[in-house]
């Protein structure tokens, strides 16, 4: 069996922000499920570790939360992106893309290109 990839520090937070950006307000389970779906089960997340991350983002003011009702009619905590969260997402997306481009270029380089 192929070992599942560990989630690097900080990436999980970015995934949470992006998920909320795309799908709008979600409860914790919803966020966990989306991340799992999108990563195509390649990424293993102990779903529980999501909650400390949510708390940290909320303390930083990137997301806000309030009580709502879930699909099976129970009280659930819904998280949504705030304005500063959106800004942060934009910055971090740019950073990430920049990093990815640089790394991609390094991979594309062949020995003869550097002669």
């Amino acid at each position: 069996m192929k070992a599942k990839t560990e989630v690097p520090q900080g990436t999980l937070a970015l995934m949470v922000l992006k998920t909320l950006d795309v799908l709008g307000p979600l409860h914790g389970y919803g966020v966990a499920k989306r991340i799992e779906q999108i990563s195509g089960d390649l990424l293993s997340v102990n779903q529980g570790t999501l909650y400390p991350v949510l708390l940290k983002l909320e303390q930083e003011g990137s997301i806000a939360s309030e009580w709502g009702t879930s699909e099976n009619n129970r009280r659930a905590r819904f998280y949504r992106l705030t304005r500063s969260g959106r800004k942060q997402l934009r910055i971090e997306t740019q950073d990430w893309e920049q990093t990815a481009t640089i790394i991609a270029r390094f991979f594309a380089v062949k020995a003869e290109d550097l002669q």
Binding site: H27, G28, Y29, A32, N46, Q47, G48, T49, Y51, P52, L55, K56, E58, Q59, E60, G61, S70, E71, N72, R74, R75, A76, R77
Partner: protein, 919 residues
């Protein structure tokens, strides 16, 4: 920004711990429910669906833990939690808590109240603007008048002319002010029926208030124009006088007062709290400009170049070094002396090269009080330090016993993985809480006792204000108390805390009932030994001081104290002039002598032990004293039968009698010390001496009086030479007019007569109803007043000695009782094997005495050291007083017996059967 916002929300969430936990629990529950539902939809049976959901979620407790760490401030929360826990534990042991807090309160209270005194007298600056900029002339405080053109060691007081010279020529002072030692004035509001009252007052230069940076509370302070010859006389009074005597009446400002019978306009009131330049037990109440001195005083010193009587304090300009000012002033002093070379005596000229002066920090003003009390206060501080050490030892003992009881709990915590710092922080926090509680209670004790000590230390004289020092809390005192409490708390808790982490969990759990390790018992014993040693030191010191005081009080004073009353009066305040005095004295004498019960009466300049007037002595026919020889003596002016009234025997010749009239040969009676100093073994009767260099033939010696203790500040030192002159032969044309005004009337009553003070007042009032009487007390009281300071120290040390003994006994009791409790089993076995009760009692008492004996062994050399130090402070005290040390040892032994007997008796009542069953 992000980090800051996060920190804020963390702080905020300190208060929302419960709802936050609840929210997380709910979210997890919801998460699991949704996942389970999804799994069921995927076809799993419900139980399996739930199991998978939980597995997928991961370790719930770990998530909660990491959530909590994210949430608030875990360190703060732990601290609050621990503090709450500690408080709960303390509440559960009320006896322990109360005992500890009380013990601490006594120790901290004693230390703090002594520190209040130290702070006020030794550390505090004058209540003026920027005291750090003030510098004063002289290293030591000097009093009050010095004549001539040379001074020993340093030029520390100056004449008005020298002051002007220094002021005009020195650069670097923004102001240089001058003022003599405090005197007293008879003050009365003009055109009122009030009698003149005597208040402490002083002359000050016109820039005095400006130099101190003191603004008037009302009216104005002095200007340079006020301090000029011929300026209308003005005065500034203290806030105290204004408020207490005149009810803060605004009309006082601008109105005329009689100061020593001279009209003076009050122009302002000094601010509250300003007590002048010198801390003493009589704050200055009235200030007059220096140039008013010739107006008010009948014998003015202002114009005399060679009478040095002024203290100097200056405010230096910012950035100027006091050393450079000092150097300038030294040169100026020499220049000034050279200007007066022609007036200088041979001895002044001989001493000219070594004349110099010093500047010293003047922010504390003239510090004569500091000099007088410094050593004693430091001794007291050391004594209270010892008491505090004993208190620490005692509380540490209690804490040790407590930590022993907690061993089991500690080992369980450690076995469950509690980190060492959490295990230590518990008892440490408990101790600091106890320390703070003790400190709070101690502060209360300190405030109550400081004012008591205050009244005790500085009994204010009649009509004279009390010490202008606040005995109330001040920031340094509060800080001191806080620091002491925390230091104490740490000091007594380090041993128990250290011991608690040395617990081996397995070891402790295995023998849960009896402790196999003897950890702690050694340190507990060491603490008791330390306490015993310190108590011995304190008790011996208290004994030594008390003996020394008794020695002082019961020494041979050379005069009698029983049946004698001293009435102090002030004819100067009533406006008498020199030529009227002789008649006045005679009328007062006759008026008092007719009171029924009065045996005899004498008037004098100084009644014992108040001192004498200083003078040089030239013996007729003897060699002239060299420039550096000491030919000083004191003298006193008395009326006939003075020696009989004060009870000093005449050992040769005769005393002063009625036959020594103004027209007869001028005579003197001298003391034995005078004879020893000036005549050695020769017979002085019939010899002549004089008080001035030109005239050795002034007085004929007609008698020798027994030595007596005349000087208040040297009562514990050798007798100094004195001579007595008859009042009737006083030279009413001479310069020293002040010596003509006799201050004291000594009255000898018939035994059992009990003459009332009121009848004495009436007798004086019948001569002159306006005559101010400054004090009436028995001679006994007057003598006792000289020992207030020594008595205060002796009593306080005794108090602390008893306190330490009490604390040591309690400590010993605690240790013995605890040991007996732990040895219940052993005692049971011994009794079962045939030991009888007396053997058990002996067993317990013996082990207690072993500790005390060790304490004595350590304490004895300490005691000897301390005694030697004290003996240096107390003249005529034998530091090795075996009886005293034996008594201290005896007292200590007795209290040991008392402290160990109770647990011993309890041990002897243990029933062997019950003791064995308890296992």
């Amino acid at each position: 920004m992000k980090t800051f916002r996060r920190f804020l929300s963390r702080v905020r969430s300190l208060g929302t711990k419960k709802p936050d936990e609840e929210r997380l629990r709910e979210e997890i529950e919801e998460h699991l429910a949704l996942q389970t539902a999804e799994n069921i939809r995927a076809g799993m049976p419900p139980a399996e669906a739930r199991r998978r959901a939980v597995l997928k979620f991961g370790a719930v407790e770990a998530v909660k833990e990491s959530y909590r760490e994210q949430r608030g401030l875990p360190f703060m929360e732990t601290l609050i939690q621990d503090a709450r826990h500690a408080l709960r534990r303390l509440r559960m042991a009320p006896a322990f808590t109360v005992a500890t807090v009380l013990t601490l309160a006594l120790g901290i209270g004693a230390t703090t109240s002594i520190f209040t005194l130290v702070n006020a007298i030794l550390l505090k600056a004058l209540p003026v603007a920027n005291p750090g900029e003030l510098y004063r002339l002289g290293r030591e405080a000097h009093c009050c008048y010095l004549g001539g053109y040379s001074q020993e060691k340093e030029f520390s007081i100056v004449s008005y002319d020298l002051y002007r010279y220094l002021k005009d020529n020195t650069r670097g002072f923004s102001e240089l002010a001058a003022f003599p030692s405090q005197g007293s004035f008879g003050v009365r509001r003009s055109n009122t029926s009030d009698a003149a009252q005597s208040y402490p007052g002083e002359f000050v230069s016109g820039n005095y208030f400006r130099m101190f940076g003191i603004r008037p509370y009302a009216g104005r302070t002095f200007t340079d124009a006020d301090d000029q010859a011929g300026a209308p006389p003005v005065a500034v009074i203290s806030y105290r006088l204004w408020e207490q005597r005149y009810g803060a009446d605004p009309s006082v400002i601008g109105s005329t007062f009689d100061v020593d019978q001279k009209p003076v306009t009050v122009v302002g009131v000094a601010p509250p709290g300003f007590f002048g330049d010198t801390l003493s037990n009589a704050a200055t109440e009235i200030f007059l400009p220096l140039n008013t001195e010739p107006v008010v005083e009948s014998d003015s010193d202002l114009k005399k170049y060679n009478i040095h009587w002024l203290n100097l304090i200056g405010r230096i300009e910012p950035g100027v070094s006091p050393t450079s000012i000092e150097a300038q002033m030294r040169v100026e002093l020499k220049q000034w002396l050279v200007m007066h070379w022609s007036e200088m005596s041979a001895s002044d000229r001989a001493k000219f090269p070594e004349q110099t002066l010093f500047l010293s920090p003047g922010g504390a003003g003239i510090t004569s009080m500091r000099q007088r009390y410094e050593d004693w206060l430091l001794i007291l501080m050391a004594v209270t330090g010892f008491v505090l050490l004993i208190v620490c030892a005692n509380v540490a003992n209690l804490m040790l016993i407590r930590s022993m009881e907690r061993r089991q709990q500690t080992s369980v915590s450690m076995a469950l993985g509690a980190p060492a710092y959490r295990v230590i922080s518990q008892p440490l926090l408990e101790s600091i809480l106890l320390g703070l509680a003790g400190g709070g209670a101690g502060l209360a004790i300190a405030f109550a006792s400081t004012s008591l000590i205050w009244r005790f230390a500085f009994p204010s004289l009649q009509g004279v204000a009390a010490v202008p020092i606040e005995a109330s809390p001040s920031v340094p005192v509060l800080l001191f108390a806080l620091a002491t409490s925390i230091a104490t708390g740490l000091c007594f808790s380090i041993a128990p805390a250290w011991m608690s982490i040395r617990v081996d969990p397995i070891e402790a759990l295995r023998c849960s009932v009896r402790s196999m390790v003897r950890t702690g018992s050694l340190s507990r014993k060491a603490l008791v030994i330390l306490q015993a040693a310190l108590s011995l030191v304190l008790l011996s010191a208290a004994g030594l001081l008390t003996t020394a005081l008794r020695g002082l009080e019961h020494q041979d004073f050379g005069f009698e104290q029983d049946y004698r009353v001293v009435v102090s009066f002030n004819p100067r305040l009533a406006g008498y002039q020199a030529p009227q005095l002789s008649l006045l004295y005679k009328r007062i004498h006759d008026s008092i002598a007719t009171i029924p019960g009065v045996s005899s009466v004498a008037l004098c300049l100084y009644s014992p032990p108040k001192g004498g007037w200083g003078a040089g002595v030239w013996i007729d026919g003897g060699p002239a004293p060299g420039p550096k020889d000491d030919n000083s003596s004191s003298w006193n002016r008395v009326t006939p039968s003075y020696f009989q009234v004060v009870g000093t025997p005449i050992v040769r010749g005769r005393g002063i009698t009625e036959q020594d009239t103004a027209t007869a040969q001028r005579v003197a009676v001298v003391s034995q010390a005078f004879v020893r100093k000036f005549f050695g073994n020769d017979d002085p009767i019939g010899k002549y001496f004089g008080g001035k260099a030109e005239n050795g033939h002034e007085f004929e010696i007609v008698g020798v009086a027994k030595d007596a203790r005349y000087f208040p500040h040297v009562l514990d030192q050798l007798n100094s030479p004195v001579y007595f002159l008859p009042e009737a032969q006083a030279d009413y044309t001479q310069m020293n007019l002040g010596s003509l005004f006799l201050h004291d009337i000594v009255i000898l009553e018939r035994p059992g007569a009990n003459v009332s003070f009121a009848s004495m007042r009436e007798a004086i009032a019948s001569v002159d109803p306006d005559m101010p009487i400054t004090a009436i007390r028995t001679l006994k009281e007057q003598v006792a007043l000289q020992f207030t300071q020594q008595r205060l120290i002796a009593r306080l040390t005794s108090l602390f000695g008893v306190l330490s003994l009490l604390l040591a006994s309690i400590g010993l009791y605690g240790v013995t009782a605890y040991n007996v409790g732990r040895r219940t089993n052993e005692i049971g076995v011994r009794m079962a094997l045939g030991a009888d009760r007396s053997q058990i009692v002996r067993l317990v008492v013996r082990s207690a005495f072993r500790l005390i004996l060790l304490g004595l062994l350590i304490g004895l050399p300490l005691t000897v050291g301390v005694s030697r130090f004290l003996a240096n402070q107390l003249y005529g005290t034998n530091p090795y007083n075996p009886l005293l040390i034996l008594t201290a040892v005896g007292v200590l032994g007795f209290s040991t017996l008392a402290a160990s007997l109770i647990p011993a008796l309890r041990a002897s009542l243990i029933s062997p059967l019950k003791a064995l069953r308890e296992e």
